[in-house]
């Protein structure tokens, strides 16, 4: 029955680049690693929700960690959860919400693993009050390809902790981690949406609402003139009115096919942005919503990335320091609007000043912009390269988890600590990303 042994392609979320691994090695038990026979380089992967090439390795062994899905200990009096690294944030929510706890930090999808969340030191809408995911990791176990185990925390083996948090899977396999959860009394979010026009208005909103736990802005990157940089500023706090603690549902839809790329064009995007902006009638809207649509509106459709067609998509995500950040942001938005390539998923947020624990962590105090682009021959790469240059001119940096394009030279300027970091890289590990940003793999186009 299973005679044709064709290796499935492990894809990142952007489905670009497409690189064939030599082997997909499922890790079900922490004792499955290190493996008996390892010739080529290896790399742990979670659920492939990174956009670019941090979770890819051509001709290497991908260690698939989603079988490491066990909870190891939970203390309801402190909210400390210890679990294996392949446990997904969705599984944690199903477990923790009925027990009155929530994730300390969550990205825009719950289909990421704890290992992936640590390795990219991910951030959420509460960065300004909670910092990055790594700020809530109390300790973790790192197993190296020579079989040695390092338990590390902000206090113990602190250098290994700083290298592994945000370390893009290069320092070894994270087998388990201990996370400080936050208590909740309701699964609901007190939500408010406010329309804004222009960056000045938006920055004002961020500054005046810094006490609200979750803040983010959706921004229209299509409209010009009077509507340039309009959007909706979204705020939320965990409701303090006790309510039955029910976790969110499963994905209801699955995007079945690759959509032809022509579907996403200037006209459909303009229409979408128009509808989205006016979806909210009036300047301010308040409501009480379940956390699921508030945090994970896109998770309702599994594999929505197929909407971008077979060629895939790229994400651009940068952080700019406050100093000159506003001007930089306007320049970026102008370049994006002019290109006509913008999609509807543009998000802007103010990062707070809680330091991230990782050597290569992305967040920095200032402004953050993220948006998706379809890959279009000849134009998308040029635009991204231009945006990277603007980011660099304004003292910002790009997010490795979302990137497939920055050059070695750019990366090394964005992350000057990279040389210190490289001393912690496991000699048996490598990734397409690491090959690229250390100048060992060329960039297309």
């Amino acid at each position: 029955m299973a005679s044709t042994k064709q290796l499935p392609l492990f894809e990142s979320w952007g489905r670009y680049p497409r690189l064939q691994a030599a082997e997909l090695a499922p890790i079900h038990w922490s004792t499955d690693f290190p493996r008996q026979s390892v010739a080529p380089a290896q790399l742990p992967v979670g659920l492939g929700r990174s956009y670019g090439d941090v979770c890819l390795l051509e001709n290497g062994v991908l260690l698939e960690t989603s079988g490491l899905d066990r909870f190891l200990a939970f203390d309801p009096s402190t909210g400390i959860l210890r679990c294996e690294a392949g446990v997904s944030l969705a599984q944690i929510l199903d477990f923790a919400v009925p027990r009155g706890f929530f994730l300390p930090v969550t990205p825009g999808t719950k289909f990421v693993t704890v290992g992936g969340a640590i390795a990219n030191d991910i951030h959420g809408k509460n960065h300004h009050v909670a910092g990055s995911f790594g700020c809530h990791v109390r300790q973790l176990e790192l197993v190296r390809s020579d079989g040695s185990s390092i338990i590390c925390s902000p206090e113990r083996n602190a250098d290994w902790f700083r290298a592994t948090v945000g370390g893009c899977g290069l320092t070894g396999l994270i087998t388990w981690a201990e996370i400080q959860m936050r208590p909740i009394v309701s699964p609901r979010i007190d939500y408010e949406g406010i329309q804004f026009h222009g960056i000045d208005e938006l920055i004002e909103l961020f500054k005046s609402n810094s006490g609200i736990e979750y803040t983010v802005a959706w921004i229209d990157c299509v409209s010009t003139g009077a509507n340039f940089a309009r959007g909706i500023y979204m705020l939320g706090d965990h409701s303090d009115v006790p309510a039955p603690l029910v976790a969110g549902g499963k994905a209801k839809l699955n995007f079945p096919v690759d959509l032809p790329a022509v579907f996403l064009n200037r006209h459909t995007m303009r229409a979408f942005n128009e509808v989205y902006f006016h979806k909210q009638f009036g300047k301010r809207v308040k409501s009480l919503v379940h956390y699921e649509p508030f945090f994970y509106p896109l998770d309702a459709v599994l594999h929505w990335n197929r909407m971008y067609g077979k060629d895939g998509l790229l994400q651009f995500q940068c952080a700019l320091p406050w100093e000159g950040g506003k001007e930089g942001m306007i320049e970026l938005l102008r370049a994006i609007t002019r290109s006509g390539l913008a999609s509807f998923l543009a998000v802007l947020k103010a990062f707070g000043d809680i330091p991230s624990p990782g050597m290569l962590s992305f967040p920095m105090p200032g402004l953050m912009l993220a948006l998706d682009f379809p890959i279009r021959e000849g134009v998308s790469f040029k635009l991204l390269d231009n945006l990277a240059s603007i980011t660099r001119e304004h003292g910002g940096r790009l997010y490795s988890a979302k990137d497939a394009r920055m050059t070695a030279e750019q990366f090394q300027a964005f992350y000057p600590q990279w040389q210190e970091f490289s001393r912690y890289v496991d000699p048996g590990f490598d990734s397409a990303f690491w090959q690229r940003v250390t100048g060992r793999r060329p960039i297309d186009g």
């Binding site: 044709t4 499935p8 079900h28 066990r70 190891l72 200990a73 477990f95």
Partner: protein, 252 residues
């Protein structure tokens, strides 16, 4: 939905580190069951125990033994009864797929597959059937396989071990069902567990969590034989209805 039995509370799991068993035990842990977990690898057993305790098991004890050592079975089963107080459900899940090509070339390889999947199970089932019969209660749930329904060239050694197991269970059921004991034969199709991790995953593969739900449902409904996912019953009906003179020429 029909009449539902209460979920058994005191559960003995043989081969508790199996992917299917683990997923099933999670559902029992969530219902606050007392668990006695048997496996041959202490490190894996400990990870499973910790997970089941975190998920809400009232207790979880482990026992490390190679189940091919049938001489150890009485001691281990007595220990389980002593620790749990009594056994309401025994789930037999240990098994090996084996390498068909190696097994058809060398009887010694085939013997391990037959011993693990059939004879060690016979030893456990014999003791457990007598135990449950004496108590006039209990559930004996055993994981066999759709592969036991008909021999195919790609895995007939494994298939024979499971086929023998299914027939043995039919007989045991015929004997002790009337004493109030449920004997459940579980026949999964392809399930994504370590056993099949070397196989490319097609659309016929089920997740262990999905199979686990089916097992619990079959226990609640007091079923005799269950195919999981249920569509395998139809597939096997078709496969078993193909005349042998045609079947022998197929590449299955």
């Amino acid at each position: 939905m029909g009449e539902k039995n209460k979920l058994p509370k005191r559960v003995l799991a043989l081969g508790a580190t199996s992917g299917i068993a683990e997923a099933t035990l999670r559902l029992f842990a969530e219902s606050g069951a007392n668990l006695f977990l048997v496996g041959r690898n202490a490190a894996k057993l400990e990870a499973v125990r910790a997970d089941l305790m975190a998920r809400g098991a009232a207790s979880a004890d482990v026992y490390t033994v190679d189940l091919n050592d049938t001489a150890q079975h009485p001691a281990l089963l007595e220990q389980a009864v002593q620790t749990l107080g009594a056994i309401d459900l025994a789930l037999l899940a240990h098994g090996v797929l084996g390498d068909q090509e190696a097994a058809q070339a060398d009887y010694a390889v085939a013997e391990v597959v037959l011993y693990t999947n059939f004879l060690s199970a016979v030893s456990l089932i014999t003791w457990l059937a007598n135990y449950f019969e004496k108590n006039h209660a209990g559930v004996l749930a055993v994981i066999s396989s759709v592969a036991g329904d008909r021999g195919r060239k790609s895995n007939y050694v494994y298939g024979a071990s499971k086929g023998a197991l299914s027939i043995f269970l039919d007989g045991v059921r015929n004997r002790i069902d009337r004493s109030g004991v449920q004997v459940l034969t579980i026949k999964p199709g392809f399930v994504a567990t370590p056993m099949t991790s070397h196989l490319p995953k097609g659309p016929l593969f089920a997740q262990p969590a999905q199979v686990a739900k089916g097992i619990v449902r079959a226990i609640e409904r007091r079923s005799d034989v269950v195919y999981l996912p249920p569509f395998w019953e139809l597939i096997m009906l078709i496969i078993c209805s193909i005349p042998e003179r045609i079947f022998k020429k197929l590449n299955l």
